[in-house]
Amino acid sequence: MYLERRTFLKGAAFSVAGVTLARGVFSTDAVAESVAESKFTNTPNSLSFYPDHKEWDNFAELDGTDWKRGGIERHGVRSEENPDGILVNNFMLVPTVCSNCEAGCGLTAWVNRDTMTVRKYMGNPLHTGSRGRNCAKGYAVTSQMYDPDRIPFPLKRAPGSKRGEGKWVRVTWDSAMTEIGKKMHDTLKVGDDLSKKSIMYHIGRQNENGFSKRVQHSMGQDGFNSHTNICSAGGRQGTIQWANDDRNSPDWANAKLVFLQSSHAADAGHYFQQSAGYIADARKKGAKMVVIDPRMSNSAGMADLWLPLWPGTEAALYLYLANRVLHEKDKNGNDLVAHDFVKEWVNWDRLMANKEHLAKMVGYGYISKMPAGESYADFIELAKELYAPYTKEFVLKECKIEGMGYKLDQLWDMYIHAGSQIATYFWRAGSIGHRGGWMNVRAGFLSLVLRGAMRGDIGQTGLHHWQEINLAGTGDAATVAGEKPAKVDSWNELMWPPEFPLSSYEMSYLLPHLLSDTEWQKKWQAKGLNVPTKIPVYIPRMYNPAWINPDGFRWIEVLKDESKIELSLNLSPVWSETNWYCDYILPVGLAGERSDQQSTPSKPEKRLEFRQAVLRVAAEKMGWKAKDPSRATLEAHMKYGLGEIWEETEFWANMMVHHIDPDGSLGIRKFWASKKDPSRAVTVPEYFDAALSSLPKLSETAKAAYPSAEYPVYEYLRDHGAWTEKTDVYKPQEEELGFDGSNYIIEGKKFPKSEVTKDKFGTLWIEEDGHQHSIGIEINGKIHEGFHTKSKKLEFFAEWFAEWKWPEYAVPVYPRNEGEYEKMIHLVTQVHHRHMKGDHEFALNTIYRLPYNIHTRSVNSKHLMEISQNHNPIWIYTKDAEKLGIKRGDAVKVKITDTVTGLDSGYFIAMAVPTEATRPGVLACSHHAGRWKLKDSVDIPGFEHKLGIMGVGAPLYEMTNDGKTGTLKPVEGIHPRHDVWQFKEYNKDLDNIWWDGLSGSWQNAVAAPHPDPVAGNHAWHQKVSIELAKADDKIGDIMVNYENNFKIYQGWRDKLTRPLNSKDTMRRPRHMPRPAVPLSDKAYAVTIKDV
């Protein structure tokens, strides 16, 4: 239609005038003030805009609200003469590091110099990994810092009350330290073997590199316990077997194929945000992305190829790729195997020389006959035969992707097209969800090794320790001792039970089971081990074990039992389910309230980041001085209104010096007393300057930049927040070993050539501390540093693994037919499709992260809570739902049954969402949601305000538990808040809370522990059956038979593990270091009696 002009003239005859119709959004009362001399800029042209570093100490910025109204040109600057002008904030930008996941992205705290409050957290552009960018969790740090339910001071369980009653009194840090310190002193003073296993420091995601370990190490304790076996131990085990490094490290940005098993890296995990950015960079340059995941995650949704394999069967796919690489040729007729790499850098030679093992392989049916010779060509022939059974047809059936053969073809094309530039990160999903998940990693790396992608070159997959900087535990030079503590002489069976000698990390999730299992304790005591039966002092640190671990009711039972745990204190920045059952809650700092050195390799560079107590730093830079410099963080937080919030660095140094070993008689004090002033504890600047000065480039730069500073390295990091020591860290194994003509030089240490021996495989060995250590490898006449393994090559054949009772799995394999499922049960997932018998039986995929709820510390960030509501239903494939009559929003009962013992664990009720985004037969429900509390608030005698408990993050529940069965039922949801008494300025919006939080279930409590017999990880996935919930079932209900769960733990342990026996002389292979505290030969040695 084209209207004639006269048609529009009807407009003049409107019954209402234009002035009535118009919205009226213009005004003409402009402020006349000139802004010509203003230094403020309008909205920057680029999102990467950041103030020049020179301005960080004093940067003026317009108030955020006014930006929205058109900038300074509209109202001018606020002043007495112009009260309607725009407010100007005088900021000091203090760099720090996020602590809401393990990625350690750089942050800057924008401290208002006038109010001494942090107005916002932004990125740190000087952090070369995160490049100034953050995810929602980074920006949410402000709402965590000024959380209305922040624990404002140390709390102690009220005298006369029982753990879990919820009665608390206010105490001072000093009184808490006095009581706790005395208990620790008295425990340590005994000095026997058991006393060295008596203080357990149980770390959640620590986000620092070595300080926590030093705490235990300096006390001579084998008590450093981590969360790692519920997080990543499967992935780590597979990498340890290949490379004796527990993580790989991809060069995402330069890859041609981003090969993801799960949504980790691009969606939510290691090191999310940084990795996601580099993956995006790679894709911009044309890289393809493949996501292998039963669930269509955000990553899978935007990938070039989504492969929804049956969870836990990934190894079959990877061995199929290996099979094709070995057997096929490229279009020019060349082999697809990267022979130059495999021949030189894989330990095939040791396998071919080990006739005994080859004979075993014939016995297992892996190969039909002994190889003709020991040459590389013979090895390739062996490998061809070994992997020939893993055909396309086999994969389609085993991974249950019938009809998706075309997807395998697409994968193959991408995989081959990428050449050796394939970057991956094997971490959660297939590696942690399953029994045998570690073999998914073994097999996955094989496919990369054969293509040369594990060389660690540009765009490939390297190893983590090439880049990680672990110096937080090395501040010895600032202390009276001036040297490291001695190795620890004890072995704590509560963390490293004899059934799991090869466990990647501590068996931390079994702690309550091992403490409760007197039969197990007695059995091993009778065999000669000094198994502890209790923990005198239990110290979780930023950890919520009762909630996050499987079988939560067992945790609650043990935490409440004062005969098992005599004293417990949680160093916790937030309320948590675990706090409820502790004796002390000691509030420690979040991302901008603590001092940590962290290092998070997200690209091929050596980089560290430095977390800081930003209010303390800002105050000190403005001239404030603490009364006691070793307690400066606590003093600053109290002075500037944050509350009695402290940090571990200062806390532990003061504990050791003034409370645990005040007279030095235990030999601990010297490791924490300041060298500068031995009467007090070491300070943050002293300690970290000493610890980080060992980086030569950093030290040189800092001294040049701060020539008159007492602590130049500390001051450099204080002002920059991050440091990149080396870029382009590629294939360091190929570096030639340092040699000065008569000595080989490794990390500054000299080894005389005359004392070095070379074995027939070219590996160079030296003897040190009574042990043979390999130091390099000769290849084609040159001596290289090599990989971190004993052989100095990547270990296709994990010889030590064969020696440690698992010979049939010493090379990457997977059951080739149904007949092998039972024989190779250690490699077959507990949720294999063979266990699913009817339409109502499913595998439950639990271990994907919700990007905003990764660790439990962020529970009460209102910003994160708002965006996470209703994001964690039960995903069920549309047609599966149809068969069962389940519709969107229906409450379903999810019953968990163990496939080893056949026992039922109980159920949880959750909301179903039928979707095409999970594969048939597999449900999905992340275990990162479902928080609870038993009281809305607590009254503290003598304190005028109630202390709210997770008031924006967790609904109120009612709990029952009788030692055998536990239940949790939601009582009411979250409400808008009108009771805010602290940080009101930051919480004016709490009236707007619209969510009730009643959308998750505490499924972790229902899950029975599934200890993998090799890696020791908890195999998270569960076999479940589902049905529509009954009328009286509410979403959030759980019922747990934790008596059965105990039997399931025992069943997995007794049916699947290969424990130490009287033939063993060591607790664990000596070359496989314990991940935290260094242990002596005495600790490693073991004698098991036959009884």
């Binding site: 239609m1 084209y2 209207l3 004639e4 002009r5 048609t7 529009f8 003239l9 009807k10 407009g11 003049a12 005859a13 409107f14 019954s15 209402v16 005038a17 234009g18 002035v19 009535t20 119709l21 118009a22 919205r23 009226g24 959004v25 213009f26 005004s27 003409t28 009362d29 402009a30 309008n42 909205t43 042209n45 930006w67 929205k68 109204r69 058109g70 900038g71 300074i72 040109e73 509209r74």
Partner: protein, 216 residues
């Protein structure tokens, strides 16, 4: 002022007011009632007038169940009614003071109350059209006061603003609205806005070619 000119000017004022209002915020019952009950206005919404829902539903239901849903789709979620989005190479919206349209308003001492407008930046289609309304209104007042020179200056600004801004992008956006519209109302509104702007630019072009000599 001659009646022909008066009618022309009033029509321009009223039509810019109407389309700016409709394209800026959700309609309310008062506005909808004004349109439906005014046969002159209703002629600009020929499809809407024939839409069966208009007779079947109350104004409240019509708005809540259909018009607001469509508005959300066309103005808030799937289409981007901002000049910077259409004109910048990177398709980013410019919400701060560097927005050239904001700068232009500033030059004329016009200030946009973005919080009242409930839009993200000053180059929203509804705001730009209301700017045209304000200019037409000012031109009309100048003509009423016999300030023909001032009126001519204002007409020149209108010509420039249409040429340099609105017509550089709004037709593309409005064609998208027509294509995506789920209700006859917004289809007609887009059609009206598109046709009227083009027609008005033709009118201003002729006025400019005549040296902005009004037939006063």
């Amino acid at each position: 002022m001659q009646e022909t000119l008066r009618i022309e000017q009033l029509s321009r004022i009223n039509l810019y007011a109407l389309i700016s209002r409709i394209l800026m915020n959700e309609v309310d019952e008062t506005l909808l009632k004004s349109i439906i009950e005014d046969e002159n206005m209703l002629t600009f919404f020929p499809s809407f007038e024939k839409w069966s829902k208009l007779k079947e539903l109350s104004l409240k239901d019509l708005i809540e169940k259909y018009l607001n849903v469509d508005f959300t789709n066309l103005f808030l979620m799937h289409l981007i009614p901002y000049e910077s989005f259409y004109r910048r190479d990177d398709q980013m919206m410019e919400t701060g003071g560097d927005n050239p349209v904001q700068a232009l308003y500033n030059d004329f001492d016009f200030r946009v109350e973005l919080d009242i407008a409930r839009v993200m930046s000053a180059d929203h289609i509804g705001v730009e059209l209301e700017f045209m309304y304000k200019l037409c209104d000012a031109e009309f007042k100048a003509l009423e006061d016999g300030e023909v020179g001032i009126a001519a200056d204002i007409a020149q600004i209108q010509y420039n603003f249409l040429k340099d801004h609105l017509l550089e992008w709004a037709p593309m956006y409005l064609l998208n609205v027509k294509s995506e519209a789920g209700t006859a109302f917004y289809f007609d509104a887009a059609e009206l806005a598109l046709e009227f702007m083009m027609s008005d630019f033709e009118y201003l072009t002729q006025l400019k070619e005549n040296g902005f000599k009004y037939n006063v």
